[in-house]
């Protein structure tokens, strides 16, 4: 469960300039559902999700993740959260198994729990071939699978994915989406950000369109298409953001 209420983030660039990266955004995601955050480059997706992951402090507003306030209980939030973003790379000099063990330990798992969990994730994600190789020898797809496993190692109830298929080929992207669907079917609360329209249609139960930091439209993909009388998500998105291209991010 994620509840976001009037979430706002201001960045101060230099002395004067202020960037309102996220502007009074409110939404909620339910367990067993994938909430898609759709927005152009610089729309504020990553900033919003970083606030949910307690990496950034909200300037205003509130957010609760799995029932805990991101401002006052950040440790409890992170213990119930798996966060995967373009910025969350892996340690190149560790093997995949060591990486999973490290994050498992930081999440308070015992060595026995870790080894069964690693076994299960390796089977589910088909990682057997490279489990004991160093990450810096991996292909992009192997790295992303390992990152997914890292996100899931402590079996969190809330998952946040920030453009997880960025730079992946069709097959790798499909594999990632499949495992995210499995997480939904297991009853997890999932937020999925992307600027790829087709992914949203394929994957998300509810979509929020974010533009210049503001949530401009929300609904199921079908409802959004109907509301903007569009044939596909792209048409709906362009109508929702009012035809104006995003300012340079």
């Amino acid at each position: 469960m994620i509840e976001v209420e009037g979430l706002t983030k201001l960045f101060r660039n230099g002395r004067r300039a202020e960037v309102r990266a996220v502007d009074a955004v409110s939404f909620a995601c339910q367990p067993g559902k994938i909430y898609g955050l759709l927005g152009a480059n610089g729309a504020g997706k990553t900033t919003a999700l970083r606030m949910l992951a307690t990496l950034l402090q909200p300037t205003a507003g509130a957010a609760r993740v799995a029932g805990f306030d991101v401002r006052t209980q950040p440790g409890k939030v992170r213990a119930r959260l798996g966060f995967l973003a373009a910025g969350t790379a892996l340690y190149g000099r560790l093997t995949a198994r060591e990486t999973l063990a490290y994050f498992g330990r930081l999440n308070g798992l015992s060595d026995r729990q870790i080894s069964t969990r690693v076994q299960k994730l390796a089977t589910d994600l088909n990682m057997g071939d490279f489990l004991d190789r160093r990450v810096d020898t991996f292909s992009t797809g192997m790295k992303q699978k390992t990152s997914i496993a890292r996100t899931l190692v402590h079996d969190p109830e809330v998952l946040i994915f920030d453009e997880p298929t960025l730079g992946l080929d069709v097959f790798a992207a499909r594999a990632i989406r499949d495992s995210i669907r499995e997480c939904r079917d297991a009853g997890k609360t999932i937020v999925y950000s992307t600027h790829v329209m087709s992914e949203v249609e394929k994957l998300c139960d509810v979509v929020g369109i974010i533009h210049r930091g503001r949530l401009v439209a929300e609904g199921t993909p079908a409802a959004l298409k109907a509301r903007f009388a569009a044939d596909d998500m792209e048409e709906a998105f362009v109508s929702a953001v009012g035809n104006e291209p995003e300012v340079a991010a």
């Binding site: 990496l55 440790g75 973003a85 910025g87 969350t88 340690y91 490290y102 330990r105 930081l106």
Partner: protein, 409 residues
């Protein structure tokens, strides 16, 4: 505070660091190789050139004195000098190091001596040049002996005892224990080594664990795990501190070994040939109080902690390892300044200086290796250093809690 997490972070960073060849080279290999290379290289080159210069019979030109055959003959008979007639352009030849020195015998020197009139012998040399200096000493020694002979003859002629011109003797004798002699010579050098390697050992891991992680994108990964910021900082800090101390210990061990080796070489080797028999005893290493050295080692720990936390905080601010390096490199000078200041004559430890970080360590190590234990100063130094280290660590934790530092645009 969850110490299990601190340990987990430390263990992971240790494994990561050991697998990083560049860090290993900068913390282990370089200091281990640098000290023997510096000591053996500089030592043996200096030793060889000195021995060679001493073995050489210096060429000395003679100017004038045609009317004084006695002194000329005595000079020519002196085996430790090769006397040659002054060539054309002898000044230039001395400057060009072809000729070591020139001696000018004034006109009518022999006759002046016989009459008991004053006369001046002039020596021309290359100031500061080792071999020219050795030649001058030899010429001076010759003329000193020559003068003594004249004095003895004059005294005998007047029936006076030798003590007539030498009513009393002055002798100096060293009463300081050998450690203290060593303390002044080597004691100034030891803090250099400690402080420099302490800093150098912390530098690379500190950058790699902060700016390096930012650059590789792993910082955000660890920040979104449940590990607390303070635990994360402590784990990283302990790794950097370990690297710093390991570097100090390695460099010290290799320095000790190469010094021993050098001493062995000097006492058992070339010196025994007697080429420099006149130079006195073989240059034995000044003895250092081992307990004092141990105490210096203990006092280094808080300084290493201060360096580690400051370097971590500073390089966390940078966006890339390269940027961090450009922040940290000028710091080497700041760090070395107190060490250099402690070498200035007259700068002695007092209660006020005991509170100046780094400088206090430099000053106290001079005393400690000479076996001087001033407990009041030691307590002040240890207390203040620990305080500075704690402040540095607190500052580091603060930096790790600032999102404008972690996510600098």
């Amino acid at each position: 505070m969850n110490w299990h997490n601190v340990w987990t972070v430390f263990a992971k960073e240790l494994r990561d660091t050991i697998r990083d060849r560049r860090t290993l080279i900068s913390t282990l290999v370089l200091p281990m190789l640098a000290m023997p290379l510096i000591l053996l290289g500089v030592g043996s080159v200096a030793y060889k050139s000195f021995a060679k210069a001493q073995a050489e019979v210096p060429q000395v030109a003679i100017l004038g004195g045609e009317s004084s055959p006695a002194v000329r003959e005595a000079l020519a008979a002196h085996t430790k000098l090769a006397v040659v007639p002054a060539p054309e352009g002898w000044r230039q030849q001395i400057a060009d190091k072809q000729l070591r020195a020139a001696v000018e015998i004034p006109n009518g020197f022999d006759a002046a001596l016989a009459r008991g009139e004053p006369a001046t012998v002039r020596i021309y040399h290359y100031d500061g040049e080792l071999r020219s200096g050795l030649a001058v000493s030899e010429v001076r020694r010759f003329f000193g002996a020559y003068r003594d002979k004249q004095v003895a003859a004059r005294l005998a002629g007047r029936g006076l005892p030798a003590s007539f011109v030498k009513p009393f003797d002055v002798r100096t004798e060293n009463v300081a224990p050998p450690e203290k002699v060593g303390g002044n010579a080597i004691g100034g050098l030891i803090p250099y080594v400690f402080i420099l390697f302490c800093f150098a050992g912390a530098l690379y891991p500190a950058i790699d664990l902060t700016a390096g992680e930012k650059e590789r994108g792993t910082l955000e990964t660890i920040l979104c795990s449940p590990v607390g910021r303070t635990e994360l900082v402590l784990g990283k800090f302990l790794l950097v501190l370990t690297a710093s101390l390991v570097t100090v210990v390695c460099s010290l061990a290799s320095m000790g070994l190469s010094a021993l080796f050098l001493q062995h070489l000097a006492s058992g080797g070339a010196l025994a040939h007697g080429a420099v028999a006149g130079a006195g005893a073989a240059p034995t290493l000044p003895r250092i109080d081992p307990l004092g050295l141990l105490a210096v080692g203990a006092l280094v720990v808080p300084v290493a902690a201060l360096f580690s936390s400051l370097l971590l905080a500073l390089s966390l601010f940078a966006k890339s390892a390269k940027e961090a390096q450009s922040y940290a490199s000028p710091l080497v000078l700041v760090v070395l300044l107190p060490a250099i200041m402690s070498l200035l004559p007259g700068v002695e430890l007092n209660a006020r200086l005991a509170l100046v970080p780094v400088l206090n360590l430099s000053l106290v190590s001079k005393e400690l290796v000479s076996g001087v234990w001033n407990w009041w100063h030691l307590a002040l130094i240890l207390g203040s250093s620990c305080l500075y280290a704690a402040a540095g660590l607190a500052f580091c934790v603060r930096m790790f809690n600032r999102e404008s530092v972690l996510f600098r645009a």
